[in-house]
């Protein structure tokens, strides 16, 4: 079971801030594919991966990163702090 978090317009498109996901996906990209297959709103949110960033257990990661041992995955647009 992985905790999946969404921020900013990703959260708005999917319609929730976080959810628990039962998955055996080996990588972030595989998890994204599973989510996109669920419903249209997920497919829309993940349509352009170049416009998204991912963090694994609160550290920035890449979409080909493995999910083994990861407890928390977060998807969000490029950050706009400062």
């Amino acid at each position: 079971m992985i905790e999946v978090l969404y921020f900013a317009w990703v959260r708005e498109r999917i319609g929730l801030p976080r959810e628990k996901v039962e998955t055996a996906a080996p990588t972030v990209a595989a998890l994204v594919e599973e989510l996109m297959a669920r419903e249209e709103r997920y497919a829309l949110a993940f349509a352009d991966l170049a416009a998204l960033r991912v963090a694994l257990d609160q550290e920035l990661a890449s979409f080909d990163a493995p999910l083994a041992g990861v407890r928390e995955v977060a998807f969000f647009p490029p950050m706009t702090g400062g």
């Binding site: 978090l5 921020f7 900013a8 317009w9 959260r11 963090a55 609160q58 550290e59 920035l60 977060a74 969000f76 647009p77 490029p78 950050m79 706009t80 702090g81 400062g82």
Partner: protein, 146 residues
Amino acid sequence: MRVAVQSAPFDPGAEATAFAASVAGAGAIVTFTGLVRDDGGRIAAMEIEHYPGMTERAIAAIAEKAAGRWPLADVLVIHRHGWLVPGEAIMMVATAAPHRGDAFAAAEFLMDWLKSRAPFWKKEIGPGGAEWVAAKDTDEDARDRW
């Protein structure tokens, strides 16, 4: 080093004074305060979302990177989230070092990294509706120059 991520307003002057008192003898202090601009009436308010937990970790990691690079006596980073209106302080960094060059460089470094590596997302609310602020390529360039 102090990192504060908060929704409450802060007083940049009071923070600068307290920071200076805590690093007496440092020689140089640089402070930067970022404010919500109104963009000629285009922005009525700004809502800042963040990733609790990761935000504090990411900022602390950036501050440690700066401390490893310049001889800093201390670093302060305050960043707000939530609902802000034009004129309000969004964030502040302060650096203290023996000499001004290092204090200036470290403050710029912190700002450039915070822009694109601290998990905040700004949404501008204006007369025409609300819109997420898009990240700029120039922000990445500014970070890469370090």
